[in-house]
Symmetry: C2
Subunit: 330 residues, 2 copies
């Protein structure tokens, strides 16, 4: 199959442009009609660094994950998903069907998330990589939530559950410690992360003053939010919503479940600051977010992140964080 035929088959799988996209893949550039403000983020996933091809059957999950991690940044802005632009470096040992599997994974999540793949670039490369640029829209800039608006007194909340992706990685990488078939949900969180797009929009609508997605881990990402906002964050360890199964896997691996929840990356949940006026019961917010929202602490004057253990001891997330490399810098 020639290069242009492959491109044709890729385009078929991605469907016709829709929504804000007037001209999609195939011209010099895609043409879109944007909202009053756009949020744009780029993420690259590289074989051997961010994923291994032998981790699972087929390559669809790799395409899916590349788009999911980029979409997670849009979720963290409260932006409405618009378009994705995908560059794939096709390694020499990747055949055309595998290349199309990878595209299928992207197309599947794009359809679920309501984002249009409006353009791309396919090139040969010694190393397989996927760079995804995503554009989200909002009516105006003030509808988007940066990391920098948290104020002392705000509630600190997190979506969903923590530690699942890190525990899933332990299940798949430390063979023999547990029976993998019992921990499918954890493996799934590692391989097929969800971008919290609906929750991000709901949190933005509820007046979130600052928001960040948890790609590197709660400890490190909380510090990014604290630094950008010029505030401190106080988190109660016992309030952290640790995913089912994390404790069992951590114990079997000789790890601390709290460490997985605080320093394990790739949960792709959202951490947000909400005005205290929202109220500690969060009202209708969890219903509109489509996922659990848990109050885990508060924003305080000062700097840095305190994670208080039961009994008043303090956990230093920086110490935890140094145990692992960040997923990647952005």
């Amino acid at each position: 199959m020639g290069e242009f035929e492959l491109l044709e088959r890729v385009r078929e799988r991605l469907g016709v442009p829709s929504g804000r996209v007037l001209i999609g893949s195939g011209d010099d550039a895609a043409v879109t009609v944007p909202g009053g403000a756009t949020a744009t983020s780029v993420d690259a996933l590289v074989e051997g660094v961010h994923f291994r091809r032998d981790t699972a059957d087929g390559l669809a999950w790799i395409g899916r994950k590349a788009l999911a991690t980029a979409l997670s940044d849009l979720a963290a802005m409260g932006a409405s998903p618009g378009e994705a632009y995908v560059a794939v470096g096709v390694a020499p040992d990747l055949d055309e069907e595998e290349c199309l599997e990878l595209v299928d994974g992207i197309a599947e999540l794009a359809a679920e998330a309501g984002i249009t793949v409006a353009g791309g670039d396919l090139t040969s490369s010694p190393t397989l990589f996927i760079t995804v640029t995503v554009v989200g829209h909002a009516t105006e800039p003030s509808a988007l939530v940066s990391r920098s608006g948290a104020r002392p007194g705000d509630l600190l909340v997190v979506t969903g559950e923590l530690g699942a992706a890190a525990a899933g990685l332990l299940v798949s990488s430390k063979r023999g410690i547990v029976d993998p078939s019992r921990f499918e949900p954890l493996l799934d969180r590692q391989l097929r992360p969800q971008a919290r797009l609906i929750a991000g929009s709901a949190l933005a609508a509820a007046g979130a003053t600052a928001m960040i997605d948890l790609s590197d881990g709660l400890g490190g990402d909380a510090r990014h939010l604290a630094k950008a906002s010029g505030v401190g964050l106080r988190i109660a360890a016992e309030k952290l919503p640790i995913a089912a199964g994390v404790e069992e896997v951590a114990t079997a691996a000789g790890a601390d479940p709290l460490e997985l929840a605080v320093s394990g990356g790739e949960d792709y949940e959202l951490l947000a600051a909400l005005p205290a006026a929202v109220g500690a019961d969060l009202g209708t917010l969890p219903a509109s977010a489509g996922v659990a929202i848990t109050v885990i602490g508060e924003v305080i004057a000062g700097a840095g992140v305190e994670i208080r253990l039961p009994g008043g001891r303090m956990l230093n997330p920086a110490g935890y964080e140094q145990m692992r490399q960040p997923r990647s810098a952005r």
Copy 2:
């Protein structure tokens, strides 16, 4: 130097957000206020495929070229440059100073072209690659020029000069055929292509009905435009503006200068169709384009591309094109 320190130094080099960019690199996503329509394109450059590090001193030219090739797509839409998002896969043997050199090349061209680097991703990678996504703006979608609007009777024009990049590649790759120091302008065209942003805007304002940038070569790119527009293109070979020095280099290499002009890629000039009403003398267009604009033929009913040689013989650009691989597919 840690990863976050390196990112800090990268951000310093890229300057503060400006123009349409309200939040730049460092948050989950960049926030911009777009025009009424946007044009977006992504290009990946991969070491060993699109460039070799030993081609020239330093790495700035690689960053510069990665941005230039992406900007060329905006030029071909007649879009006003807005923002660039850059993902770099940093190879293990690239030290931090080389990484910053590469960023300096991007920053230098960004400043020249008036585009803001609003976001990015730095990650380690076995292979050095640079993915650049560029966003251009226009007041409305109809102000942007696709490949598909050419109509029989339109004039066919090209900006600048052809064959220079291909001749430059011969000069650098076939050592000994000519004295490289005598052909600096050709080498420069290969290493430091110019995106014809001002000419693209001027052609759009003059009513261009279709436009494409010449990345793969006039022959192939003309066929893309013809196919997208559902027309034929008739080009007069003797009208092609062949760059100074191309004939001498081609002769020394045993190549045909016309072949370099027709099938040599990476000239990054623009091919455009203009309404006949503009007139064959093009009026004030060349002055506003800031570069020569040459009428090279016309749009005809039918399909495909005819390149007529003096004496009435016909050149088949498809045959020429097969001699080389396209730079990359998009």
